[in-house]
């Protein structure tokens, strides 16, 4: 039996089978609802209000997400509510996936500008009886004379060859040739009439499972001319990677491949429009993505990667003609995909490594990329160990009652007055607070600890008399912002349960760091730099990250945020072909440690699940600071 659902405020209408979840219905209607937990009823983010009609929803089971009043107004979780009758459903703005703040930043260090694609404008002598050399030789010599590679080393594919005779004569022997350095050598990929040598662009792309970021470069001047980002359209086939691999298994890979290309194309189009250029003048696209994303973009079956023994199909960089992947750039342009190491250590991590420069340094660096999953790489120019694990979404704001992504209104920085316990915070875009983002949560945890509101186990000391410390029907909680000061009309709190989730997340990251350090036989004193990559890298307070024991304690000035290292790495590989060549070498050097197979990992995890750590001697500065804070309070 079909039921008709009308979604407000957009009045979008859709017919679905009885028993479908409201979430599925909304997704079919093209509405992007925020589902951090993947529709398991755990995160409480997909709140909708059923204004009329019959549904099935277990209010009791999900009561912790709602106030009495909200329930009275028909609040429910879209993922846990099944459609029984015709419905009128209101979707609040906060439930929709919002425009995400993307890290947009250039390179900190200067990278030599030496791209893999070049254009050469040549004015050739027409052939004569006295000088009868063939068209191609004539063209290649001309290119060599204008500073191009040695003529004998250039290769012209048949497609180009077919165009040469007419074009040379039609243009009166004035043409622009495009030479790309591909694994096979130099290749004449395109020939155009007259001087188009100023029109040469390349794109560096971070193909994330959530977001696609594009940097558009003028490959003549060496300048970024446009930046764009948008959601990965594969989200419609599954929120997380595993769901998408399963989708591919059931419905075929082609849809996911097409969606990946489409996501890139949308960003390319936006960036090209901003820059005012023709997409056909983009001759190269460099893509850094995680292993599954890269496989999917290339149309390689990722199914065998998600089951034991978890092997990817390729471990080296790949170059492909853009038109074979459906990438909307010049049809003769190329796509360069970053190599991957394992199912979890993908091209994005290799890009992180390239952008922080750890593979060229004598000193040992620790690189940490945090998202829902985290990846850790430890090493230097001679050796590298890597591992990956699930951090849970807490550090990104998921599974935390008032956690949110870095959208407008998210608290991203926070301090707490030790006397009055009044928080002072800033929000993204400076508007009234709507929730707390990952970096804000790390600040909050560190501040609650140093003000002794929580103990090292993360338990709130309800013995403290302060209106901000109270016990709700489920957990003790701390009020970060009162309803009248918040942008959502209710108190923004952090509960003891939230804190527990955060501690579990930070413990897995720290335990992974320690596991790699033990594998390499080094201590925290041997680490010269810690690099933070990932979504909240740039906003992260290094001192607070150390205080809660997210990372090993080293001097704060040796901790660096590299932000979106994936796109930075892609940028480097786009504009510097020598660095690009090192990628395969980096990928083959990295040893992957499977944490599940490390018996010591669980032990490290338990000892890391404490603030900052059970072994306080690993955090001498933090310990000193906390002791001082405690004495001050007493």
């Amino acid at each position: 039996m079909m039921r008709s659902i009308t979604f407000l405020p957009s009045y979008r209408k859709i017919d679905v089978d009885r028993g479908t979840t409201i979430l599925d219905a909304a997704q079919h209607a093209g509405l992007n609802i925020n589902v951090v937990c993947g529709g398991l009823g755990k995160c409480g983010k997909c709140v909708v209000f059923v204004q009329s009609g019959k549904t099935e929803f277990d209010q009791q089971k999900h009561s912790r997400f709602f106030t009495e009043e909200e329930l009275k107004n028909g609040a429910c979780l879209a993922c846990a509510t099944s459609v029984q009758g015709d419905l009128l459903v209101f979707i609040p703005e906060s439930t929709m996936i919002q425009e995400q703040k993307i890290l947009i930043e250039g390179l900190e260090t200067e990278i030599e500008f030496h791209p893999s694609v070049r254009k050469y404008y040549v004015e050739l002598e027409p052939p004569t009886l006295a000088n009868p050399s063939p068209d191609l030789s004539r063209l290649l010599w001309g290119i060599q004379k204008s500073g191009g590679p040695v003529a004998e080393k250039m290769y012209a594919p048949l497609e180009t060859l077919r165009e040469i005779p007419t074009m040379l004569r039609h243009s009166d022997w004035k043409v622009t040739g495009t030479i790309a350095l591909v694994p096979g050598g130099y290749r004449l990929i395109d020939l155009q009439e007259n001087d188009t040598s100023k029109r040469l662009y390349g794109a560096a792309i971070d193909l994330g499972s959530t977001t696609v970021v594009v940097y558009l470069w003028d490959l003549v001047s060496g300048k970024v001319v446009g930046v764009a980002s948008n959601y990965n359209k594969q989200i419609s086939c599954g929120e997380d990677i595993l769901a998408r691999v399963n989708f591919a298994r059931k419905n075929g890979l082609s849809k996911l491949q097409a969606l990946a290309a489409e996501s890139i194309n949308t960003a390319l189009t936006t960036a090209s429009n901003t820059a005012g250029i023709d997409r056909d003048d983009i001759y190269e696209v460099v893509v850094a993505g995680n292993t599954v994303m890269t496989h999917m973009l290339l149309g390689i079956d990722p199914a065998y990667m998600i089951a034991e023994p978890y092997v990817p199909v390729v471990r080296r960089a790949l170059s492909v003609a853009a038109n074979r992947l459906g990438i909307a750039c010049n049809p003769n342009g190329g796509v360069f995909a970053f190599p991957a190491v394992s199912d979890f250590i993908g091209g994005d991590i290799i890009a992180d490594i390239l952008s922080c420069g750890m593979s060229e340094s004598d000193g040992v660096s620790l690189l940490i990329d945090i998202g829902t999953n985290f990846e850790v790489v430890l090493g230097n120019k001679d050796w590298m160990f890597s591992c990956a694990g699930a951090a849970g979404p807490a550090l990104e704001g998921g599974e935390v009652l008032f956690g949110m992504r870095a959208n407008p209104g998210a608290i991203d920085k926070i301090t707490i007055d030790p006397e009055t316990l009044t928080p002072v915070f800033s929000t993204i875009n400076g508007i009234k607070p709507r929730g707390i983002t990952g970096s804000g949560l790390i600040d909050l945890l560190a501040e609650l600890l140093s003000t002794c509101v929580i103990d090292r186990n993360g338990r709130i000391n309800t013995g403290i008399t302060n209106p901000r410390i109270r016990t709700s029907s489920h957990f003790p909680e701390f009020v970060v912002a009162w309803a009248q000061d918040s942008g959502i009309g209710k108190d923004i709190v952090i509960t003891e349960n939230d804190i527990k989730n955060l501690i579990m997340s930070k413990a897995s990251v720290h335990a992974a760091c320690v596991t790699l350090m033990k594998e390499a036989g080094i201590s925290r004193h041997d680490i010269s730099t810690i690099y933070f990559a990932g979504a909240f890298g740039n906003y992260l307070n290094k001192k607070n990250a150390t205080t809660i024991g997210l990372i090993p304690e080293i001097p704060y000035d040796q901790i660096k945020n590299i932000g979106n290292g994936a796109v930075t790495g892609a940028n480097i590989a786009l504009i510097n072909r020598r660095k690009r060549k090192t990628l395969d070498e980096i990928a083959s050097k990295i040893a992957y440690i499977e944490l599940n197979a490390e018996p010591a990992f669980m032990d490290e995890y338990t000892s890391s699940a404490f603030l900052p750590h059970t072994d306080l001697s690993l955090f001498p500065q933090v310990q000193k600071m906390l002791d001082a804070c405690r004495i001050q309070r007493e």
């Binding site: 090292r456 338990r459 404490f610 059970t614 306080l616």
Partner: protein, 318 residues
């Protein structure tokens, strides 16, 4: 027997004094100084390796007690005074551990009765006492306050602090100078974390006894053994946050399948055996105090400890 094994350990287990005699301001006939070890138990004959203490567990509301014990002890279980006295004089325990099971009733609020029970136990025996408070965080504060107050000067061992609820019991221990039991679920790290939490709210190291939680033999005991061993190794290697004596209690020995399914006339024996072997193994793992509920187990443990040629009695301070 004695093994001549040498380790390069530099640490030692901190000492905790349980029970106060008249000269210390209490009314106990004996007081124990437990801990102080510098190596593993039963390794040598020197008197620094005393036999573990045996604590006899009783309660103030036997509804919550194993029918095996109720059958064996008969009317005794309904008379706290006599039960405690028997534990001391008849069964020969070193300590009496009183569980305030009466507090486990719904909405319990008769706090004076709790004080009364502790007073009864104190008057029934002059052995040092372990007092087990409530199971409910809501009444923890009142219960422990009462126990602490009634037992003031007696150096009780109060139980049980856990990572999720340690503030009330710690407050009572601090206010009335009692020691406390710190229990964590079979994990060396969690044991250490709780000890740090206790230290940070002012509990001195010499007032803490670690309960690493004992699973019954055949029902996870090997995990407990390993946790106890690791706690002890860490302490002997110098980790002061783990250098406290340990207590072990495994009441599940009375309810496991083997005991439940034993022939009616063999049930008692089976229960005693299970309790005995679990306790003995816990002592070998390093427990300074082992707690039992069946009177017959006490005698068997004493024999066993003697055969291991430890010092004849626990270290007693008079």
């Amino acid at each position: 027997m004695g093994f001549n094994v040498h380790f390069d350990w530099t640490g030692s287990i901190g000492e905790v004094i349980l029970g106060a005699t008249k000269s210390d301001g209490g009314s106990r006939r004996v007081s124990y100084r437990i801990g102080g070890g510098t190596t593993l138990p039963f390794l040598d004959k020197n008197p620094s390796s005393p036999a573990p203490l045996i604590a006899f567990e009783i309660c103030d509301n036997p509804v919550f007690w194993s029918p095996i014990i109720r059958n064996y002890c008969g009317e005794l279980v309904n008379n706290l005074q006599e039960w405690a006295k028997a534990g001391d004089a008849t069964y020969g325990a070193d300590m009496i551990r009183l569980y305030l099971t009466s507090t486990r009733q719904r909405n319990f609020s008769d706090f004076p009765a709790v004080g009364k029970a502790v007073e009864t136990a104190l008057s029934a025996t002059s052995l040092p006492l372990i007092i087990e408070g409530s199971n409910d965080p809501k009444i923890d504060s009142d219960i422990f306050q009462k126990c602490g107050e009634v037992g003031q000067g007696e150096r009780l061992l109060l139980g049980t602090a856990e990572a999720s609820r340690y503030r009330s019991i710690a407050a009572a221990a601090l206010a009335y100078n009692h020691a406390l039991i710190a229990q964590s679920p079979i994990d060396v790290n969690l044991a250490k974390q709780l000890n740090i939490l206790l230290r940070e709210i002012g509990i001195q190291r010499d007032h803490v006894v670690i309960d690493p939680y004992t699973g019954t033999l055949g029902y996870g005991f090997e995990y407990s053994y390993s946790a106890m061993e690791r706690i002890r190794f860490s302490a002997l290697k110098g980790d002061t946050d783990l250098a406290m004596p340990m207590i072990s209690s495994a009441p599940d020995t009375l309810t496991i399948k083997e005991v439940r399914e034993a022939d009616l006339d063999g049930q008692d024996d089976m229960a005693v055996k299970w309790e005995f072997y679990t306790s003995l193994a816990a002592a070998v793992a390093g427990a300074e105090i082992v707690c039992v509920r069946h009177p017959k187990t006490i005698g068997m443990l004493k024999l066993a400890f003697a055969s291991l040629k430890t010092g004849t009695g626990s270290m007693e301070v008079t």
